[in-house]
Subunit: 329 residues, 2 copies
C-alpha cells in the first residue's frame, strides 16, 4: 500500500513528518511512504541510509497555518497538501496524512479528493483519549459548523463503520452529545437527530454528556462541528492547565520535588492517558479517499501512530465499506 | 436585606442549605435569611440556639431533581422553590437561592419572578474556576438552547454589569466562545453575534477558545446554552476524571502513598482551583429579581458562598443596574 505524507505541514514540520515516516518505513516494509514536499528540504533530512520504501514527491509550495483555507487550496495547486490529495484522487496513493492547516485539509478533501456520493457533509473525526485508553471516536469536530440532523445521522453511520473496521469493535455504542441524558433534551438539532438515530441501523445508546466522555460513555460520539470543537478543546485545555499547576506545585519546595520524583512514573502514566499522540491520525469521513488529519503539533512518534492507524484503515477497506453503505461512490 | 433559601433543593438538602444558612446568619447579622421548606424538617435542623436573623417560611411541597420543570412549577405552587420565587416577586425577599432542579429554577424565574422588560431570553450564569482563582463568568449555560445573536448580545451586556457590580472589575473583557480566535470563525450564530458585540458598549475582545478558559482568557464568556453546557461539563468531567486516576496512581504502592502524603497540601490546592464551591452561586440574568442557582451538589460551605455572592449582588444593585441598561423594568 502507498501512503502520501505532507512533509511540510504542522508545527514541527518538516522534521516530525520525515522522522515519523522513517520510523514507520522501518517497521512496515510493505508500506510505500511518499513524502510530499520541497526536495531540497526533505532529502537532506532523510540522510544517506534512506529505506527503499520511502520516496520524495516534489511539491514546491506550502500552505501555511494562517492561510485562508479555500483560497490556499485554490491558489497553491503545487503545495504539499494539495499534491498529496491529488495522489489520493488519482489512485497514486491509498491515503494521505497531514498535520497542516485543518481548514485547508478539509477543503482539499472536498475539492481535490471529492465528496462521496450521498454524503451531504463530510465530518472531521478524532479519537478523544479516555482513561481506559480505548478512546472515543468523535465527529464532527469542525468540518460542518451548522450541521443538520441528517448530517449527524450520517456521522453516526460512518463512525460506526470506522470503529468496526479500524478498531475491531463489533457493535460500537453510538452516543449523541447533549446537555443531559434524558430523551427530549437539547436544542432543535439534537432533538430531531435523536429521532433519526433511533431509527438508524446502528447501536444508538441515546444522549450522552460531556462530563463522561473521558470515562468512555460511548464508542462513537456524534455532534455538530461547533459543539465537538468546544468539547475537544475544553478537554485538552483542562488537561494542560491542570498539569501546569500540578507541575508548579510539585517543584515549589525541596520536599515536594523529592516526593514528585517518586511519583514521576505515575504522573507520566496519567499524562499519557490524555495524550492525543497515542491515538493520533483520524480521517475526514465522507470523502472519496482516505484523508487523515494528524494533530498540528505532532512529533515523529505521533506521525508514526497516524501512519499506523491509516494502514489499518486501508487494510480493512474503510472507504469501500462506507461507500457500500451509502450506495456506492 | 432578605434572602430566601430553598431548604429542600439539592443533593444534600435539607442539611446543606440549613447549615449553610446558619453559618451565613452568624457571619452576616445584617442579613435576614428565610429558609423555605417543610417546617417539621427544617426546624429540628436549626437546633435550639437559632440566630434571630433566620426564620422558616412554610412550603409543604418539594420539586424533585427529576421532575419535568414546567409541569413541576405549575403543579407545585406550594413547593419550596416556587414559594421562594414568589417571595422575590412580591418584594418579601431581595433574592432567592436554590440548589434544586435547574430547569425548574429557570422556569420559576421566568413564570413566577418574571422576565425583565426588553430581555428576550434570560441567561443562566456560572463562574467557571480559572487557575488564577478569579474565574470566568460564563453565560448562557442552558437556559436558552437555540440562542439568537441578539440574545448573545444581551448576555454580554448583562454579564459585563454583573462583573462590574458584583466583582468590581471596572472594564470586564468580554469574549465570544468560538472554535478559533480569528474573526469570521464559527457557525452562523457566532458570526452574526460577533458583529453585534463589536458595536456594543462593552469591552469586547473577540473570539476566545475553550482550551484557554481555565487560563482566564476573558472575564465574561458569552455562548449559547448548548455550547456553554458542553463546555462547563467537559471542564468539570476532565477535572474529576484526572483526579480519579491521579488518586489511583498515588495509592498504588507504599512508596507512592508516602510521596503522595508529602504532596497532599499541594494536591488539595490544585483541586481547590477547579472547585465550583468557591465560586458557587450565580444568577439567572434577565429576570425581574435575583434568582440564584447554587450547584446541585452544594454542601454547607458552598451554600454559604452562594449567600456571600448574593449579598454582594444585592448591595451593589445588580438588578436595578441591568433594568436601567435595558430601559427600566
Amino acid at each position: 500500500m502507498k501512503i502520501a505524507i505532507d512533509a511540510m505541514g504542522g508545527d514541527l514540520a518538516p522534521h516530525a513528518p520525515v522522522e515519523g515516516a522513517l520510523a514507520a518505513a522501518k517497521e512496515w516494509p510493505d508500506t510505500q511512504l511518499l513524502l510530499v514536499g520541497k526536495p531540497d528540504v526533505v532529502q537532506p533530512l532523510l540522510g544517506s541510509g534512506r529505506p527503499s520504501n520511502i520516496s520524495v514527491v516534489e511539491a514546491l509550495e506550502t500552505i501555511e497555518a494562517d492561510d485562508e483555507p479555500v483560497r490556499a487550496v485554490r491558489r497553491k495547486p503545487n503545495s504539499s497538501m494539495v499534491v498529496a490529495a491529488r495522489l489520493v484522487k488519482e489512485g497514486e496513493a491509498d491515503a494521505m496524512i497531514s498535520s497542516g492547516n485543518t481548514g485547508a485539509l478539509m477543503t482539499a478533501g472536498l475539492l481535490v479528493v471529492g465528496r462521496m456520493k450521498d454524503i451531504e457533509r463530510p465530518g472531521l473525526t478524532s479519537i478523544i483519549p479516555s482513561i481506559d485508553k480505548v478512546g472515543v471516536l468523535t465527529l464532527d469536530l469542525g468540518a460542518n459548523m451548522d450541521a443538520k440532523p441528517e448530517h449527524l445521522l450520517q456521522y453516526a453511520m460512518m463512525g460506526s463503520l470506522y470503529r468496526q473496521k479500524v478498531h475491531g469493535i463489533s457493535k460500537p455504542r453510538v452516543g449523541l452529545l447533549n446537555v443531559g441524558t434524558e430523551a427530549g433534551k437539547g436544542n432543535e438539532l439534537t432533538k430531531v437527530a435523536f429521532e433519526l438515530l433511533e431509527q438508524a441501523p446502528i447501536h444508538f445508546i441515546g444522549n450522552v454528556e460531556a462530563r463522561d466522555v473521558l470515562e468512555r460513555n460511548c464508542d462513537v460520539l456524534v455532534c455538530d462541528g461547533f459543539a465537538g470543537n468546544i468539547l475537544l478543546k475544553a478537554l485538552e485545555g483542562a488537561g494542560d492547565s491542570l498539569f501546569k499547576v500540578l507541575k508548579a506545585e510539585m517543584t515549589s519546595s525541596l520536599m515536594n520535588k523529592l516526593a514528585a520524583a517518586v511519583l514521576k512514573p505515575s504522573l507520566r502514566r496519567v499524562k499519557q492517558l490524555v495524550d492525543y499522540r497515542e491515538h493520533n491520525g483520524a480521517p475526514l469521513l465522507g470523502v472519496n479517499g482516505l484523508v487523515v488529519k494528524s494533530h498540528g503539533s505532532s512529533n515523529a512518534l505521533a506521525t508514526k501512530n497516524a501512519i499506523r492507524h491509516t494502514r489499518t484503515a486501508i487494510q480493512n477497506g474503510l472507504i469501500a465499506a462506507i461507500a457500500d453503505e451509502f450506495g456506492g461512490k
